[in-house]
Symmetry: C2
Subunit: 279 residues, 2 copies
Amino acid sequence: MLVEPLPDAMQQVSVHFRFIGSPDMKTPSAIPNFAPIRTQRAFEVICEQIRAQLAAGTLKTGDKLPAERELAAEFQVSRSALREALRSLEVAGIIRNVKGVKGGSFIQSAEPDRIVQAMQDYVHLGNISLDELTEARLATQDIIVRLACERASDADLAELEAIAERTRQESDVEARYECAAAYYRVLARATKNRMFGIFVDSLSAILHEFVQGPDYETLQETLIESRFKLVRHLRARDADAAAAEMRKHLERVHRHVRKTLKAQNMPAKAAKARGKAPA
Amino acid sequence: MLVEPLPDAMQQVSVHFRFIGSPDMKTPSAIPNFAPIRTQRAFEVICEQIRAQLAAGTLKTGDKLPAERELAAEFQVSRSALREALRSLEVAGIIRNVKGVKGGSFIQSAEPDRIVQAMQDYVHLGNISLDELTEARLATQDIIVRLACERASDADLAELEAIAERTRQESDVEARYECAAAYYRVLARATKNRMFGIFVDSLSAILHEFVQGPDYETLQETLIESRFKLVRHLRARDADAAAAEMRKHLERVHRHVRKTLKAQNMPAKAAKARGKAPA
DNA sequence: CCTCCTTTAATGGTCGGACCATTATAATTT
DNA sequence: AAATTATAATGGTCCGACCATTAAAGGAGG
């Protein structure tokens, strides 16, 4: 059996899963039963069970969960409650829902997108300053460059150069940003450690929100040049030089961003609105 | 008005928000209308709008969204669809739902919990190896120690010592883990950069899953001693010594974890099942 | 006037049943 | 054999209802 139904205490209609007392008891104070109160919602229990099976390895990438109606019956909850659980897992990037016959909920492979999203939310809510982001980025990239310097394959280096070259040909601002992100991503991949890729992607996405005008133009050629230089240092396996180049590069970028923000009188902590209204 | 209703194309019953053609058209191929097809679910649109208001600053921490029934009316969707959106935002840590009169959905302040959860999911799904985690941890802690060495206040240092002292008095394994996590967290806080706290918390939570038996005992005193030493180095503002101590500390821990895993014949990539069955 | 209890209404959580749009497969037709 | 048409399974949405929780209003008693 894939799932276990919710415990008996949860079986009654609309019971809110408290694990103490009885729902109908009118004078619960009669018995000095001071167990810790814990209220838990149905969808949370469901998520926990599924996550547990994930951690245990009972469920793994590619597996298909039973259909909603069926799964709801197994858990002995309504379809709505189950759907809220599935929705949670979906936005967490754990499952993917596909419609139609042979549709269902499929366990996803790991994608860093959700972590990036979570970090983005965190920054929006927590007023993380540009300075903090910048510092974290400098520190992270320093490590990455040094590791990449040891481990980058020839293919990695060639790809980096190709991206830098492509950047030069792009004229669209957004396309150039994409190139930059790709450059950083490949560099992170060259460390052969996926954790660094996560950090980089997150910081890239967040810092992108700060980039404002097309005033970037003036800096563009310098930046591209710097990327080529970095590859040369990597190829020479000169970690210190590579790290220094990256540092110079990032400082240039951030000085520029900061100046732009100031020119627009924007505090360094507020990101601009990026919500696109539905057409 | 807080929200805008969904566009006209979405108003029909159960329409799945395609922005091309008409649902009732029987021969849509008659007109060569080749606009890109985009299907979007109601809850996604709602989430986007709310996230947009967050990024724009229209919504901020502490604000209260209208009641579900009311909000559903504003968006002109069913309560179920709205609830799935709210559920998504809740598991993303953006809102908090509270019941009862004066209840509702409140915009939360930033908590790193969700990022930690996201990273945990990522590791579970992606088979990130212990080696990768360890390396990332070593690198991250190196930076943190060096920054903390510059910036830690006397209060920070005192707190670190207090935690190390408390660890010695604890006998429960889980409590000691809590102490360790707290130690790392305070250390990260001493950098005065919240981004590092996120990294640390995530790695702590994930690595905790690898810790198995109570075989930790033998190492315990050495580890605590090491924490005291680290504080002394920090107090002396000796970054290199502090970083070296931290490195030694972590390597000890990870050697031990690795050995334990091997003894249990567990691959270094699979985390043990931690799902607690409901009582 | 103040305190304690009861009532009330607003709100999130859950339920169950319904219909629609999508999609892969089976059945049918050409 | 190929193309077309039903069929059934599945996720997405809607509706209306009831329950549990909770803060505030109202009332009883001092």
